[in-house]
């Protein structure tokens, strides 16, 4: 076979494959979804992981003949103003019905615009308690920190911890989560002896940690971004903080484990539990994600995947009307997500069970409350 024949045969095979794909997708409804995450800048690892999760969900929805989901991405680089520009672009140019987004400052900025433009925002990773009940156009598909904050405070006090110091990231998420935890801890009978904050993207937190060490708390609570939580753990142990370290769901992220190394062992806290062995959906996603991204999925990757599948299913059932999609989503009962059975409360915030965890040999070991 000469070169020309080879090329002709290859082109023929390609066109047949494409036609077969097109035929397979015929008859499927089409839904347009926008995704605004951080795909460049200091938190790009987070957004790119989410992109993998979205693509897996999109492929599965098409394969199972549920819907042909068209996904349009915008990059917010952890900046609310860029998210707003991205949102307008997605609505005006791509006419998306739903925008899937993350980060508390971003969701807070998008909420009024979503209401004005009558588009649904599905938040899969913003966890600030201020996101609860923003308006009917925002669905919180992430467990807000008033859930794990209260549970964490009660768990610590129950374990005899009377004084604690808090280190948190200095943004909308960090300040509100830290404030909520402090109130819950005081209410449970504890005392906060020091609160320190660090800027977004900080690599060196020793100054803050030295002040915490000087305050001599019985425990340190870390409410930071990824991988700053990992840096905090490593540097706390390095400067000689021996008090137990507690944290939230974000500590589960593999990036934290990578930067903290062995120092992460013994870190405890409250988190959503993603167990790939729990269900076939979770196992299947975990395998596919690992193949695409070269690492295990984080809890936020799982929540993004569940969010995309749920939105896709809603679009198939009720069409592209954002209000109808919202009503469908908040009414689901025990929806089988990879994270577990998903339900929403009347305000449109997800209800999921929290689990206690402790890192042993670099892996979280869970125990139910």
């Amino acid at each position: 076979m000469n070169r020309r024949s080879c090329i002709t045969a290859a082109l023929a095979a390609l066109s047949l494959t494409l036609s077969a794909g097109a035929i397979a997708q015929q008859g499927l409804k089409t839904g347009k979804v926008g995704v605004i995450v951080q795909m460049s800048g200091v938190s790009a690892d987070f957004g790119v992981g989410v992109q993998h999760a979205m693509e897996i969900a999109k492929q599965e929805l098409a394969e199972r003949k549920i819907i042909n989901l068209q996904v349009f991405y915008e990059d917010h680089q952890q900046q609310a103003q860029l998210a707003l520009v991205g949102f307008e672009k997605l609505v005006d140019r791509n006419d998306v019905a739903v925008v899937i987004a993350n980060a508390s400052p971003v969701i807070l900025a998008l909420a009024p615009v979503a209401e004005e433009r009558k588009r649904l925002v599905y938040n899969f990773a913003g966890v600030s308690p201020k996101l609860r009940g923003l308006n009917k156009w925002v669905i919180n598909g992430a467990a807000l920190s008033d859930m794990d904050g209260t549970a964490l405070a009660q768990y610590m006090v129950k374990n005899g911890i009377k004084t604690a110091a808090v280190i948190h990231v200095d943004d909308q998420f960090g300040t509100s989560v830290a404030e909520f935890f402090q109130n819950a801890f005081k209410k449970a009978g504890g005392k906060i002896v020091d609160v320190e904050s660090n800027p977004v993207g900080a690599l060196d937190l020793r100054t803050q940690l030295l002040k915490i060490k000087n305050a001599n708390p019985e425990a340190v609570v870390i409410l930071n971004n990824i991988p700053e939580e990992g840096y905090t753990v490593a540097q706390a142990r390095e400067i000689g903080i021996t008090a137990p370290l507690f944290s939230n769901t974000f500590m589960m992220d593999p990036q934290n484990v990578k930067v903290a190394g062995n120092a992460i062992n013994g870190v405890r806290g409250m988190s959503l539990q993603f167990d790939p062995e729990r269900s076939p959906v979770a196992k299947d996603f975990s395998v596919k994600f690992n193949k695409r991204a070269g690492r295990d999925p984080s809890v936020t990757d799982v929540l993004a995947y569940d969010g995309a599948r749920l939105v896709g299913e809603a679009m198939q059932k009720v069409g592209n009307d954002p209000a109808a999609i919202r009503d469908y989503i908040v009414k689901v009962k025990d929806w089988p997500g990879a994270i577990g059975k998903i339900n929403f409360d009347a305000e449109g915030s997800i209800s999921l069970n929290m689990s206690r965890y402790e890192f042993v040999n670099g892996k979280p070991v869970f125990s139910n409350q």
Binding site: S40, V42, A44, L203, R206, Q208, K258, V259
Partner: protein, 305 residues
């Protein structure tokens, strides 16, 4: 008192980490007058070959040395190529600034495409061992970085003041036209500055790889701090070394009595105040009326003839 001491040492070490990159950036900027904003991105990008080499060959001393060598080579070749084929063709300040910003973005994104956005860390247990000195606890890595910074700073000082080549480089920094007139090959000096500066940048990137881990976007903070310290140095490599340590110490000590939230603001306010005061003092020195020295002896006689 323990807290003060701990903050002082932590600040000094943090300053030394930034200082290695600042010395590299300053060497390039003072010699070429080119705002090489791609410095941070190139320094971080250069550390990736080190990571790949160590991952492929293991973390033994030979593989590590080879990896560090690969990082140096990548940084030097790439930086000289940028200088020669981009900046020199643009010739004026603003296009160079724009081009360097563009290159920085391209490098960051290309690295993200090739290596992915995830953090890459090289872990050497020997380097993360803790050394205790009274209330001070430091990793072996930090002690090594501080000593390395001092060696680099002193070596640059000795090189500039006590070698012929170094004096040629110093002359190019002070007055390139005059240096050219007296026979200094300033174009080679500029190349040399790029090579040495890029190597220091790569060293910074490699330290980051072992210290906090490396992400493609880590170049920007590296550049920002190096740029600020270079401006504070006002053309003197010795000042750059001193300001690097001061930068870290002031930031850290601010937290002794005040909130760390405001440490960046405090440091920048202090630095800007210093620059304004120093500039005002220089103008005062330049403009003040000095007493005219009276000509004496044979000079006066010659003037009269």
């Amino acid at each position: 008192m323990n807290l003060f001491l701990e903050l002082l040492v932590a600040g000094g070490v943090a300053g030394a980490k930034v200082g290695i990159a600042a010395l590299g950036f300053a060497l390039i900027f003072y010699t070429t007058r080119e705002m090489h904003f791609a410095f941070g991105a190139v320094s971080v990008a250069a550390a990736y070959p080190c990571y790949w080499v160590v991952r492929a060959l293991g973390d033994g001393p030979a593989a590590t040395m080879l990896g560090v060598g690969a990082a140096f080579a990548a940084a030097v070749i790439f930086s000289i190529a940028i200088h020669k084929y981009v900046y020199l063709r643009l010739r004026s300040v603003l296009p160079v600034v724009m081009a360097s910003l563009g290159i920085s973005l391209i490098v960051e994104n290309v690295i993200q495409i090739i290596a992915g956005p995830d953090i890459q860390v090289l872990s050497y247990p020997a380097l993360i061992n803790i050394v205790e000195m009274g209330p001070i606890r430091l990793r072996v890595l930090e002690i090594g970085v501080f000593i390395g910074f001092v060696i680099v700073a002193v070596s640059i000082d000795l090189f500039l003041n006590h070698t012929r080549l170094g004096q040629g480089l110093g002359a190019t920094m002070d007055d390139p036209e005059m240096a050219e007139l007296v026979g200094v090959r300033t174009s080679r000096m500029r190349m040399g500055a790029y090579a040495a500066g890029a190597a220091l940048g790569a060293l910074s990137g490699v330290v980051m790889l072992v210290d906090t881990g490396l992400k493609p976007a880590n170049g920007f903070p590296l550049l920002l701090y190096a740029l600020i310290i270079t401006i504070m140095g006002r053309g003197s490599m010795r000042s750059v070394a001193v300001w690097s340590i001061l930068f870290g110490v002031i930031r850290s000590l601010w937290s002794w009595e005040f909130s760390p939230d405001l440490q960046e603001l405090a440091v920048f306010a202090l630095m800007v105040s210093y620059l304004i005061a120093r500039d005002a003092w220089d103008r005062y020195q330049f403009n003040r009326i000095r007493p005219v020295s009276r000509p004496t002896g044979s000079g006066a006689a010659r003037a009269g003839t």
